[in-house]
């Protein structure tokens, strides 16, 4: 079951309020889906106590083998209805699309007023959806980002307005107009990381605000090494490096892209050298994204961060 690639341009919304929740799965551990649904079910239940929503949950699976069988999907669909999730769908992509393209594929069936992008290792507080929705009456707000625990994102945000440079799509509520305006994620440039930074910045370029809602909590299953560093896998080493180069290039900072590429070429990590090679190849083939935001209206490059940070997870 794979919907047609590309983002739908059908009209969104209807008489009642509606919400689509999307998660892209990849090699999940046993019980991960159940765990996520456990939290989600309560958040939907409490959301529906305050207002009538039509809620659809969509899983896209980029794993080498399906995470769920059809029977399991039917069982889950049945069980979550008790909590107010009106429909649960599961698409097996049969290839590793990455999060950006995976979400885009799922967005082809987006007909609702809002979409919540959710990481597969995110567990919502029962009040998370309600808190995210609190800010949506302001139509100038395009994306509302939840606050992740136990390891809070260090990105700065305005304490009064919540405005922030970009929103992590580990848990972000997006207005349908934003999808219309941006056509979703730039999956040609970003596979796994920084797709949300780019998506946020294009949202802001389209005139919407991106805000952080600290009271919308969700548990993001990140862990620490023994020296209290964030645990990072090989995929992050590679895709984070590749995405950073793409981001700098796309947001009209070829100087930074060049400097980082040179640094990565000298890295002791082969995955980072590989990221630099891929960038060079695309540079040669003229397949890099067309630069935008030439005046730096939205893009922020502060050191290797894409926003001002309140603290750093890296050692000083």
């Amino acid at each position: 079951m794979t919907p047609a690639d590309g983002v739908s341009d059908v009209a969104h919304g209807g008489a009642g309020r509606s919400l689509r929740i999307q998660t892209v799965l990849y090699r999940q551990a046993d019980g991960d889906v159940d765990r996520q649904l456990r939290g989600l079910a309560q958040a939907v239940r409490i959301l529906k106590e305050s207002s009538d929503y039509h809620v659809v949950m969509a899983f896209g699976d980029a794993s080498p083998t399906p995470t769920l069988s059809l029977d399991e999907v039917a069982e889950l669909d049945e069980s979550v209805r008790a909590y107010g999730i009106d429909q649960l769908t599961y698409y097996y992509f049969d290839e590793n699309l990455g999060s950006a393209r995976g979400h885009n594929v799922l967005l082809t069936e987006f007909r609702e007023e809002f979409v919540l992008f959710l990481n597969p290792d995110a567990y919502l507080s029962p009040f998370c959806l309600t808190e995210l929705m609190l800010l949506t009456p302001d139509h100038g707000i395009g994306i509302v980002e939840g606050r992740q625990i136990p390891l809070e994102h260090p990105k700065a945000f305005d304490r009064d307005s919540g405005d922030t440079s970009w929103a992590s799509t580990a848990c972000a509520l997006v207005r349908s107009e934003v999808i219309d305006a941006t056509q979703g994620f730039d999956a040609d440039s970003f596979f796994l990381y920084c797709d949300d930074v780019d998506f946020s910045w294009r949202t802001r370029l389209a005139g919407f605000r991106v805000v952080h809602q600290p009271t919308a909590q969700f548990f993001h299953d990140k862990r620490l090494t023994l020296d209290a560093q964030m645990q990072v896998g090989d995929a992050e080493h590679y895709y984070a490096a590749e995405a950073a180069l793409m981001l700098a290039w796309k947001y009209s900072r070829p100087d930074l892209a060049e400097q980082w590429a040179v640094d990565l070429e000298r890295s002791t990590m082969s995955l980072q050298r590989k990221a630099a090679r891929v960038f060079r190849d695309r540079q040669s083939n003229a397949t890099l994204p067309t630069p935008i935001d030439p005046d730096g209206r939205v893009a922020e490059f502060i050191g290797t961060d894409f926003a001002e940070h309140r603290f750093s997870y890296a050692d000083a």
């Binding site: 551990a29 567990y123 009040f127 136990p150 304490r159 299953d221 620490l224 309140r310």
Partner: protein
């Protein structure tokens, strides 16, 4: 019974203790005390002296004949048939009202104790709730426990291990049997003998008060259940109706792996919600939460219930809210542990948060190292109080997590100070239920260290080698550091170490190596200190010598200046000085020309 049981009521005997309970519970109820299995009736005269009538029943005739000669009514009884036994009692009473039933040293001689107790309970209820006083030897006396460790089980003619005993009693078994047979304990007057008839061989270290081995083992026994030095349990019971004539058993519902004690003062709703969220998101849900609101208003309890239930029916059912009033910060832990049901006990305060594998890690470790203290290093993170949108109280993270505590547990280091925040360990509940450890409410702080040390010294520690929890340090906002004075911390530290110091320390294997390493390190530092001291002394001596020489030269110079020849030669010195200056000026001018 043979004459070996012809004991008299003497001062400080079990019979005196029985009579004392009779005075407390048998007076004013009826006229006759019924002594079942009376033997020679050592309490008969004492009962009569209370103004009551004594009657005795036994299977053996010798004792009853003795009683008859002393003027007391007796009747034969065969307890192998409880119904007949009750009939014998009724016949002997002949319409008189019973004041109390007594069974001294009987239950250990019969194999159908539950049936007898059940019949007696029914009899008691039918006769106005007459009480029962029981005396039975304690097979868990420390002397017996210690001797078992020596492989000894010395049967004797009389005493704790009388060779005619067919049933053996601990405090728990006596409670279980009587309560299962329709009796509820209303009083106790246990007969204690620190040195029992089993206190031999006298020179065995395990039996000698003051030997480290004895003191350690006695501590273990004494802290576990009551009765370490009880020779006979002497208890009074009221009849409440028999259930099944069997010994009762505990509720055997599913036992969670971990009981989590979560203290809250209701001051930080945001972090409480997050602490619960981090639990609801655990990969392993094999736990229960005992949420312990301490000195909070009633409406907060309603909110806490709503909050817990918001995480779902299953989660809400595993959160028990137990309000706690009074006491210090240790009180909620002391209350919570009494109601915990898990195999392990963990502490997670309402401002801490755990990673997704906190319980899963304990599960893995418990399977591999059952009964040990399970310990993980903890990261800490600085936070400050702030207000979120809508003026809601929240907090803000101001720094990255750090781990300043060691990855692996070191017991010697922990004797000096605590390096293991409470959210990083779980202790077997058995240390509380079986070994009598308690949270010490006299400690205003460091109560966690106190329990941890008692647990690790007995249980040992298994290290996970993974950070599984995040401990919040409030840079701005109330915390135990800001609320309690330095003096309170110091006093608590002294109290914890004094408790450890008062008893023998049980250190794990390879502690000798660790202590030797410390000793070697100390010797090295000491030698280095001595070498530096010698060097310093030498330097000081040399400095003193130079100072002396300087003083001598100064004196000589002064003496020379005061001399007449110095004064006479002054013009010559002035002329020489002027000549030196003129020569220097000429040299400078010449250099400038070049």
């Amino acid at each position: 019974m043979p004459d070996r049981y012809n004991f008299a009521l003497t001062e400080y005997s079990v019979y005196e203790y029985v009579v004392s309970l009779l005075k407390q519970f048998g007076l004013g109820r009826g006229e006759v005390v019924v002594d079942i299995g009376c033997g020679h009736g050592p309490i008969a005269e004492a009962v009569r002296d209370l103004g009551l009538t004594y009657v005795g029943l036994d299977l053996e005739s010798a004792g009853m004949a003795d009683l008859a000669t002393r003027g007391f009514d007796t009747a034969p009884v065969d307890l192998s048939s409880p119904v007949d036994a009750v009939r014998s009692i009724v016949d002997l009473l002949a319409g008189r009202s019973p004041a109390a039933l007594v069974m001294i040293d009987v239950l250990e001689h019969i194999t159908n104790g539950p049936e007898v107790l059940t019949s007696l309970s029914e009899f008691a209820i039918g006769h106005g709730g007459v009480p029962l006083v029981v005396a039975v030897p304690n097979v868990t006396h420390f002397d017996l426990a210690a001797k078992l460790l020596l492989g000894r089980w010395d049967m004797t003619e009389t005493g704790l291990l009388d060779d005619t005993h067919v049933s053996f009693f601990s405090d728990e078994r006596l409670h279980s049997m009587t309560s299962g047979c329709g009796w509820v304990e209303i009083g106790s007057n246990d007969f204690e003998l620190p040195i029992s008839d089993q206190h031999f061989p006298a020179d065995a270290a395990v039996l000698q008060d003051g030997s480290p081995l004895h003191d350690l083992l006695f501590d273990v026994r004494d802290l576990s259940t009551r009765g370490a030095i009880v020779n006979e349990f002497v208890r009074a019971y009221a009849a409440i109706g028999a259930r099944a004539g069997t010994e009762s058993s505990e509720d055997t519902g599913p036992v969670p792996l971990v009981s989590i004690l979560m203290r809250t003062q209701g001051k930080r709703p945001a972090t409480l919600q997050e602490a619960l969220l981090s639990l609801a998101a655990q990969t392993d849900q094999d736990f229960e939460v005992l949420l312990l609101p301490h000195n909070v208003p009633r409406e907060m309890l309603t909110h806490a219930r709503y909050l817990a239930d918001s995480f779902g029916e299953d989660f809400g059912a595993r959160v028990r809210i137990i309000p706690v009033e009074g006491g210090g910060r240790t009180r909620p832990l002391a209350v919570g542990v009494e109601q915990a049901r898990g195999r392990y006990l963990a502490i997670l305060d309402d401002d801490d948060v755990v990673f997704g594998h906190w319980i899963e890690t304990y599960q893995t470790m418990a399977a591999k190292y059952p009964g040990r203290v399970l310990r993980s290093p903890v990261a800490e993170q600085d936070v400050v109080e702030t207000l979120w949108s809508g003026g809601r109280p929240g907090y803000e993270v101001v720094d990255r997590p750090r781990c300043r505590w060691p990855d692996a547990f070191d017991v010697l280091d922990h004797l000096w100070e605590n390096h293991s925040p409470p959210c990083g360990w779980a202790v077997p509940l058995s240390i509380f239920t079986d070994q009598g450890v308690r949270f010490d409410e006299t400690l205003p702080v460091l109560e966690d260290w106190d329990v941890l040390m008692q647990a690790v010294l007995w249980c040992g520690v298994a290290d996970s080698g993974q950070i599984t929890a995040l401990w919040r340090r409030w840079r701005v906002g109330e915390s135990s550091t800001s609320v309690h004075t330095e003096n309170e911390w110091q006093q608590a530290r002294m109290a914890v170490t004094a408790k450890l110091d008062a008893k023998p320390l049980l250190l794990p294997a390879r502690s000798m190596t660790a202590i030797q390493a410390e000793r070697i390190r100390r010797d090295i530092y000491q030698r280095e200190a001595e070498r530096l001291q010698t060097e310093l002394n030498g330097t000081r001596n040399h400095t003193a010598m130079l100072e002396r020489q300087l003083a001598e030269r100064t004196q000589e110079l002064e003496a020379m200046r005061r001399s007449s020849s110095w004064k006479v030669s002054k013009p010559v010195r002035v002329a020489a000085d002027l000549a030196r200056r003129a020569t220097r000026s000429a040299q400078d001018a010449s250099a400038a020309d070049r």
